[in-house]
């Protein structure tokens, strides 16, 4: 399982961070980045939520 952040599309709403703070963080450039070192199967629900609710469709879940 892997999550891709399209940093061009991302405009830093921070919805992903609000939903899954242990996985995402919005940095000083207003871009999301991963804070989790590895993604666990139990994170799948949170990840799917973040992918669906990112208003810019900047997140993609692979695998």
């Amino acid at each position: 399982m892997e999550v891709r952040i399209d940093t061009v599309a991302c405009v830093g709403h921070g919805v992903c961070e609000a939903l899954a703070p242990h996985i995402f963080e919005v940095d000083d450039q207003d871009k999301a980045r991963l804070v989790a070192e590895t993604l666990e199967e139990e994170d799948r629900g949170d990840l799917e939520n973040a992918v669906n609710q990112c208003p810019e469709q900047a997140l993609r879940l692979l695998g």
């Binding site: 405009v11 830093g12 921070g14 799917e48 669906n52 609710q53 208003p55």
Partner: protein
């Protein structure tokens, strides 16, 4: 006749998320998604922003192919549902009575009109792709644009039009703009943003008539003033699309009235998005939102609950919306009514406002201009019923200050 499955009425954001939510919860039965528009489900927020200012392409939420092939949806675009009968569990589409086991009502809202003012060409509203195409070709450098209503869509459009070189005047009947969305104190404060973008806003300006034979020529105010206009945008809010539900027996009170699980009071019938008025457990009150993020959240919950593969879940939402005024982003979380609003940093005029709303000893809302990091974290704190003092300290330490 095929077996009844999930039927979703309205192929906008909430409708698409409902279909996705149903499939993700493991539902493998038939799914039908009906939409009155002919475009594949698309995203509305850019229509008042980049679609105008950068001639951006229409942003599709999910392509028709992806809906049909990946989610196995019977996608029926360009079809309007005209009635619902919860006793027979059917909806009417043209001459067809379509049966459902689960139904999601996701018909969204439409732009309100001002009676008698939409006659001449050049008078617009902004809700759909077609509306935005018409406005994009109407606004030219030097055009005289009058916006009626200083709400978010009117304000965004005003900024975009001004960015394109038009001369823009915004007329607002109330004394303070944006009151309903952010409350009086912050409405006044955000008025400073219009100034920052060089837009002339006249509050307390009541429009009496839009004048023109074939094409609009002027806008007349109640105090007798006459403003010349090439383009008029009526931005006086949105009304939930519920006419088709008359006679269904559902309770309609400025939206389809739903419980905390988005159930609309009939077995298997749920509502989501701009059309839904539901009991939001997070604030223990009934509300109807017209925001992107909650429409998405509600869609997922309604889709999942409508196919009934598990216990119905409640839809707990801390409201969130953003508004982009070309380069400035306003963000609001929570609810606008409160005991007190405290400005923690900056101002709207300098583009670095951050303010918090207090109810009792809790933080219940926040508004920011270009304070992206702080606002969404405050959304989490509001959802966790965070203590006021803790929120203020957090906001002070996280706020970005512009020199």
């Amino acid at each position: 006749m095929s077996t009844a499955g999930l039927v979703v009425v309205g192929a906008g954001l909430a409708g698409v998320r409902a279909v996705e939510g149903a499939r993700r919860s493991g539902f493998t039965g038939p799914v039908t998604l009906l939409g009155a528009e002919t475009d594949a489900p698309y995203d509305r927020p850019p229509l008042s922003k980049a679609f105008l200012t950068e001639s951006a392409a229409l942003k599709v939420l999910r392509t028709a192919e992806s809906l049909r092939d990946e989610l196995d949806v019977d996608l029926r675009l360009g079809e309007t549902v005209s009635a619902l009968d919860p006793t027979t569990r059917t909806v009417t589409v043209g001459a067809q009575e379509l049966p459902y086991a689960g139904l999601v009502i996701a018909t969204g809202s439409t732009a309100r009109q001002l009676p008698g003012m939409h006659g001449p060409a050049g008078v617009h509203t902004l809700r759909s792709h077609a509306d935005a195409v018409a406005l994009r070709s109407a606004v030219r450098p030097g055009s005289r644009v009058v916006v009626i209503g200083a709400g978010f869509i009117g304000s965004e459009f005003a900024c975009s039009a001004s960015h394109l070189g038009a001369h823009v005047t915004v007329l607002e009947a109330a004394d303070v703009p944006l009151v309903r969305a952010v409350g009086p104190a912050m409405g006044e404060e955000l008025g400073g943003l219009h100034g920052r973008h060089g837009i002339d806003v006249r509050c307390g300006a009541v429009v009496e008539a839009v004048i023109g034979e074939d094409t609009v020529e002027t806008v007349r105010l109640a105090d007798g003033q006459v403003l010349p206009a090439d383009v008029v945008l009526v931005g006086v809010g949105a009304a939930p699309v519920t006419e088709w539900l008359h006679g269904s027996g559902l309770t309609i009170e400025d939206g389809v009235v739903c419980d905390a699980t988005l159930n609309a009071g009939a077995p298997g019938v749920y509502a989501a998005g701009d059309v839904a008025r539901w009991h939001n457990p997070t604030f223990d009150r009934s509300m109807r939102l017209e925001h992107w993020t909650s429409a998405a959240e509600q869609g997922v919950v309604a889709g999942r609950n409508a196919v009934g593969t598990g216990e119905p879940v409640t839809c707990d939402v801390v409201p969130y919306f953003w508004s982009d005024w070309v380069t400035d982003r306003i963000q609001f979380v929570g609810v606008p009514d409160s005991d007190e609003v405290v400005t923690v940093a900056g101002s709207a005029e300098t583009g670095d406002l951050l303010a918090l709303y207090r109810t009792g000893d809790r933080v219940t809302g926040a508004v920011g201009v270009n304070q992206r990091r702080a606002v969404l974290r405050l959304r989490v704190m509001i959802g966790q019923c965070a203590d006021w003092q803790e929120a203020v300290e957090f906001a002070r330490s996280t706020a970005v200050r512009r020199p």
